[in-house]
């Protein structure tokens, strides 16, 4: 039985950071990360990028040493990914913000619309409805983060959270400001417009949730490998016949319905930005699916059936 020697070099300076003796042939990269962490306590495993090539991709935790294209003395390269934060933590912070920020405006805190309007309430029922829908949306997201999503990556760089929070929290404040403003004007087509929007909102939220559950079920046994998602008995998942990322499709639908409900330009702008961002993500995901699976259904488009 052969034992390996592993030397780990800094990817930029090529300086030897550590030399591991008597490493088992069937050791995984996860185990090597743990060994490296023992020698360098501040570089916990999530922030270690271990690669075969200084400019190459990071090796996955599950990779086994003897299956890699290395000799019995393996040379690996290390790159510090910087402080990391767990995806679950990020989502919880990102989504709790808008939930509470919206309330600051809904309840008209004194510093928002001035002392004369403090703690007053709007005469328009649609304003109450909008608050319920907005809150429902973010509570649903929080529940999904805690109980439904299974993330393939454990962490993301810490600096992302500042950028993401500014975006989500900032927009929440901006649109909440106008919807709950004392001079807010209700939708032009009145009850018809609002009722249509509410129905669309509920359908899209149900659809989005169905897709998240379906995707989560693909990884029920804790595996991290990618599988092609297929429609299930749930009619909302039938969108999988036509698109790769129906969760994004439904999400855009939710925001469009919210725009119609509130008839508010900032909401429309936020919807547009969401659409652009999610189209980029959907196209990426779609390309990944096409690359990984030769038998990927050819009818599917990334985010909009037949179009985009």
């Amino acid at each position: 039985f052969v034992s390996y020697q592993v030397e780990i070099l800094d990817w930029k300076t090529k300086k030897q950071l550590c030399f591991l003796d008597k490493v088992e042939a069937n050791a995984t990269i996860r185990e090597i990360r743990l060994m490296f962490h023992k020698l360098y306590p501040r570089w916990y495993p999530a922030r270690q990028s271990i690669k075969l090539d200084p400019k190459g991709k990071s090796l996955r935790d599950e990779e086994i040493l003897q299956h890699l294209p290395v000799g019995t003395t393996a040379t690996l390269y290390f790159k510090d990914l910087g402080p990391q934060i767990g995806w679950t933590t990020v989502f919880l912070i990102e989504y709790t913000g808008p939930l509470f920020i919206y309330f600051l405006f809904y309840f008209r805190m004194p510093f928002v619309y001035g002392l004369d309007e403090r703690f007053t309430s709007s005469p328009h029922p649609v304003v109450n409805l909008a608050c319920i829908c907005h809150s429902f949306h973010y509570i649903k997201r929080l529940i999904e983060t805690l109980f439904v999503h299974r993330f393939s990556h454990g962490t993301m760089p810490l600096r992302n959270i500042v950028k993401n929070c500014l975006y989500y929290w900032g927009f929440a404040a901006w649109l909440a400001y106008y919807i709950n403003h004392p001079l807010y004007t209700p939708p032009s087509y009145g009850k018809k417009q609002i009722n249509f929007a509410v129905i669309m909102f509920l359908l899209c939220e149900a659809g989005n949730f169905s897709i998240h559950v379906a995707l989560s079920d693909l990884r029920r046994n804790g595996s991290k490998t990618r599988k092609i998602p297929y429609p299930t008995k749930n009619p909302f998942t039938w969108l999988f016949f036509f698109v790769s990322c129906p969760n994004y499709t439904y999400e855009v639908g939710t925001w469009i319905s919210f725009t119609i409900m509130t008839q508010c330009v900032p909401v429309g702008l936020f919807t547009l930005l969401c659409f652009i961002q999610m189209t980029i993500w959907a196209k990426d995901k779609h390309c990944t699916y096409l690359r990984e699976f030769k038998d990927y259904p050819s009818l599917r488009m990334p985010i909009i059936p037949f179009l985009l």
Partner: protein, 249 residues
């Protein structure tokens, strides 16, 4: 939103499928694109030369440097707006610059030309307008001729030197002219409520152009030093590189 977009890096640097067909490392512009770019850059050089000549002639005719804006208003608008094409050049990959960076630079110029100078008629007589127009004119003549010669693989050192040196003066000069012009426009924007909308309205939206202009002015503070030092850094790289070449000959 689902777990995507963690700042993904693309392992195939976007040229995946072409790597197998062509052994070249970088896909540059084809012959047709190069011809188009040469024509584009020649036309732009000529356009800004027209503006330069227009300024000189107007100065000589009037005897003073005040109110020269009116004599070059049309070519300035035409050729500065034409620069929007450069965003498409990047988007289609015939120019290797970043789309976002180019869009940002061109849009800021177009913004000053149309949304400030054209829209607020009262600032057109300000001397600060001449300050940035002169800075832009000299910069663009050098920049476009630089690109023209580069594409033809015959770049005179003088042009390269000019491009990477004159900015040291022209850049602060242009920025000063731009800031002073925006500042001069403020009272007139406040008075006329230009491009502003207030509540209540059926779009449930409000926009205060006055505040927006102030935010634009403030944004110069972090942006200008970064671009300036980036250019200085480029200068050291480009000009010292040429020096080494000359020494080894």
């Amino acid at each position: 939103m689902a777990a995507s977009g963690s700042g993904g890096s693309r392992a195939d640097n976007g040229y995946g499928s072409q790597q197998q067909q062509q052994p070249r490392r970088r896909k540059g512009p084809g012959a047709l694109a190069t011809a188009y770019l040469v024509i584009y850059n020649v036309v732009m050089t000529a356009g800004w030369l027209v503006i330069a000549v227009g300024l000189v002639r107007a100065y000589l005719a009037k005897g003073s440097y005040h109110n020269l804006y009116y004599s070059i208003e049309k070519p300035l608008k035409f050729f500065q707006t034409g620069a929007l094409l450069e965003i498409l050049h990047c988007a289609f990959g015939i120019v290797p610059s970043s789309v976002v960076l180019t869009a940002f630079q061109v849009m800021s110029r177009v913004f000053l030309t149309w949304a400030v100078t054209h829209s607020v008629k009262e600032v057109q007589t300000e001397d600060s307008v001449l300050l940035f127009v002169v800075a832009w004119t000299i910069t663009e003549i050098i920049r476009y001729s630089f690109y023209t010669f580069s594409l033809l693989n015959h770049l005179p050192y003088l042009i390269k030197w000019a491009r990477y040196t004159l900015f040291i003066v022209l850049y602060p000069m242009g920025v000063s002219g731009e800031l002073l012009t925006i500042y001069a426009a403020l009272p007139f924007v406040r008075q006329s409520g230009l491009y502003s909308i207030s509540l209540p309205n059926k779009y449930n939206f409000s926009f205060d152009y006055y505040t927006f202009l102030i935010l634009v002015m403030i944004s110069y503070i972090p942006i200008f030093p970064q671009l300036y030092f980036h250019m200085l850094h480029q200068r050291r790289k480009v000009l010292s590189h040429t020096e080494e070449h000359k020494k080894s000959e």
